[in-house]
């Protein structure tokens, strides 16, 4: 029996001993994968290194005063980061104030209220907002949103608050053109909504259904379930998602460049034009030289440090969020 089947097998195929696969190919593949992974490390180190190197002369010239000076004078070679840093922080903060409630609302709608058949198309619509290029948001902000905003918000509000003590300084627009720090904040809010909403939705989806059902079972309304069960359960990841949105808002360039007005002065009013680190780099980089170039690099360095701290905290809070 055994001999026969062996014979048949031998007749069917000549007995070629199969060579063991060479270990060399295995090793090459493994090293290629390893080197590619190391490239990620190298790129991040390279970004830090190159920007710090470029910023060197500016930090040497101005020292710590670079951070506290609000000068930006190309003719006299005096540069300071204060206006851009404050503009960046204020516009990002406004973006969070406006964008976070909307994002949470969308996430709650998608997980709790949306009928099953509409869930895919609605979440696709929200995610497509994330795919729109930032320059398109800039154009939309400048040509569609800003005129409406000037006409229906800035002018009426300015008329009402003119001369009032605190509100008057905060909300009075000297030139109600629609562009300004608040407009930038609103556009940024729209841009971060899809990211924050989709991460929050994923986190809410991961909460065990039992928790939700038991709350409904004792007679809770949807609002009470959201308030007392879902939000506390997902709070850490929601804060992480918000930080991730903050990271995006801090570094966003093109949309902000279109709508912030690009003025180098400090104004107490959020209706007035300002500038952010990213918008200033985008505006001046190509014509800059010498100390101005180095100062722009120094601004980039500050942006690098701030966003990376924010992103690191965010990623620690949100362990594995979806691909943005």
């Amino acid at each position: 029996m055994v001999a026969l089947s062996e014979n048949v097998a031998m007749a069917a195929r000549p007995p070629v001993a199969r060579r063991a696969p060479s270990p060399v190919g295995d090793r090459i593949f493994r090293s290629a994968a390893f080197v590619s992974a190391l490239l990620v490390l190298a790129v991040l180190a390279g970004i830090l290194g190159s920007i710090a190197y470029g910023a060197g002369p500016a930090f040497q010239e101005f020292g710590f005063g670079f951070l506290t000076s609000s000068a930006w004078n190309v003719g006299r070679e005096q540069y300071g980061a204060l206006v851009a840093v404050i503009g960046t922080l204020v516009s990002a903060l406004l973006a969070l104030l406006i964008g976070v409630p909307i994002s949470l609302g969308i996430a709650i709608y998608l997980t709790q209220l949306c009928p099953g058949w509409a869930r895919r198309p609605v979440s696709m619509t929200i995610e497509l907002l994330a795919a729109v290029p930032s320059i398109i948001y800039g154009m939309w902000g400048l040509f569609v949103f800003a005129p409406l905003f000037a006409r229906f918000v800035q002018i009426p509000v300015s008329n009402v608050v003119e001369g009032m003590p605190i509100v008057g300084t905060l909300f009075y627009a000297q030139v109600p053109s629609g562009v300004g720090v608040l407009t930038a904040g609103i556009i940024l809010a729209i841009m971060i909504v899809p990211f924050v909403a989709s991460i929050t939705r994923d986190m809410l989806d991961q909460i065990p259904t039992v928790l939700r059902e038991s709350a409904y079972g004792i007679g809770c309304t949807t609002w009470e379930v959201v308030r007392h069960v879902l939000i506390p359960q997902a709070s850490v990841s929601i804060i992480g998602a918000i930080m991730l949105g903050l990271g995006r808002a801090l570094g966003e360039t093109m949309a902000v460049t279109f709508v912030i007005g690009n003025a180098n002065r400090l104004s107490a009013s959020i209706f007035d034009p300002g500038s952010t680190i990213a918008s200033r780099i985008a505006n001046e980089f190509n014509e800059a030289d010498g100390l101005q170039l180095s100062s722009l690099m120094a601004l980039g360095c500050i942006l690098f440090v701030v966003t990376f701290i924010v992103l690191i905290i965010a990623r620690l809070l949100v362990r594995r969020a979806k691909v943005a």
């Binding site: 696969p21 493994r30 290629a32 920007i51 895919r120 795919a131 609002w223 570094g251």
Partner: protein, 297 residues
């Protein structure tokens, strides 16, 4: 006696008659607010598309795709060179990023799994994924533009590759992790070394997911403007094949033309914006359909 959990009707809404008015209105408010937030998102997307269609469609003509961008003040012209430049640099970026990203993702998912180095790289990759793209522009400027003495298409391609890589690394790793371990064991039991198991078993099983990652990366870099501003810049003449010197591309063209005083420049910017947005939205829809196709979400 024991009713199965599925048979019990899910408690969807409480009995409204027994709920106090305050609690009832809080609930109503939540529902209205959440629906309004979602509607707002849809309205913004719709408004952006409407704006692009109204402003952009008038600019569509054969000249758009056959003529180069006009100089300041001269009439007519198209955006053929910008379309070609964008295609070439995006292709360059994706061709460089795909092998590196897939291999790095493979290392993270297959070789490095729990090692501290792999965890560090995974973490830094996530950071790089959301890093401001303008910083990547500054990096490539210092790395390539200054040493090479001028703006170049190569630098633009490299900048786009750096943006695309983390997206591909992330999706590749996620998709490889979804491949069941038994498939790998079956491959290993046949005596295949790990590299062959990965190439002919694991990669094949994760194929559609990896393709999705590449499509998403493509959608991400096709509209990037900030890094190209410092690397490829722009050029009003026909694209030259050696990629040295500035290369015209859609995003930077849109940025420069949209704010210009010339009527025909602005029209070209709108047409370009419509073209690029429709392309990118199409790419992301395809990518999401590929991803959710066989497995479902």
């Amino acid at each position: 006696m024991n009713a199965s959990p599925a048979a019990v009707p899910a408690p969807t809404a409480p009995q409204w008659g027994r709920v106090r008015a305050g609690r009832r209105s809080a609930d109503k408010l939540l529902i209205v607010a959440c629906t309004a937030a979602t509607a707002l998102g849809a309205i913004v997307l719709g408004s952006i598309l409407l704006m692009l269609i109204i402003q952009g469609v008038q600019g569509f003509s054969p000249a758009l795709f056959t003529q180069v961008t006009p100089g300041p003040g001269s009439a007519g012209g198209g955006i053929a060179n910008a379309i070609l430049g964008s295609l070439v640099m995006t292709a360059l970026g994706i061709v460089v990023a795909t092998p590196i990203g897939v291999l790095a993702g493979t290392y993270l998912a297959e070789y490095g799994r729990g090692s501290p180095l792999a965890n560090l790289i995974r973490f830094l990759n996530d950071i790089l994924l959301s890093a401001p793209s303008i910083l990547i522009g500054l990096f490539v400027y210092t790395l390539m533009v200054r040493p090479m003495g001028g703006y170049s298409g190569w630098a633009g391609g490299v900048a786009l590759a750096i943006i695309a890589t983390p997206v591909i690394v992330r999706t590749t790793e996620d998709m490889l992790r979804l491949v069941p371990g038994t498939l790998r064991e079956a491959g290993a039991a046949l005596g295949a070394p790990l590299s062959i198991v990965i190439r002919s078993v694991t990669w094949r099983a994760a194929q559609s997911g990896i393709v999705t990652g590449v499509l998403l990366a493509l959608a991400r870099i096709a509209g990037e403007t900030a890094p190209l501003l410092f690397t490829a810049l722009n050029n009003n003449s026909w694209f030259s094949p050696n990629l040295m010197g500035g290369v015209a591309n859609l995003p930077v063209m849109i940025y420069q033309f949209a704010l210009s005083p010339y009527e025909n420049w602005r029209q070209l910017a709108w047409a370009g914006a419509l073209l690029i947005t429709v392309t990118i939205l199409g790419l992301s829809i395809v990518a999401r359909l590929v991803l959710s196709g066989p497995k479902g979400r």
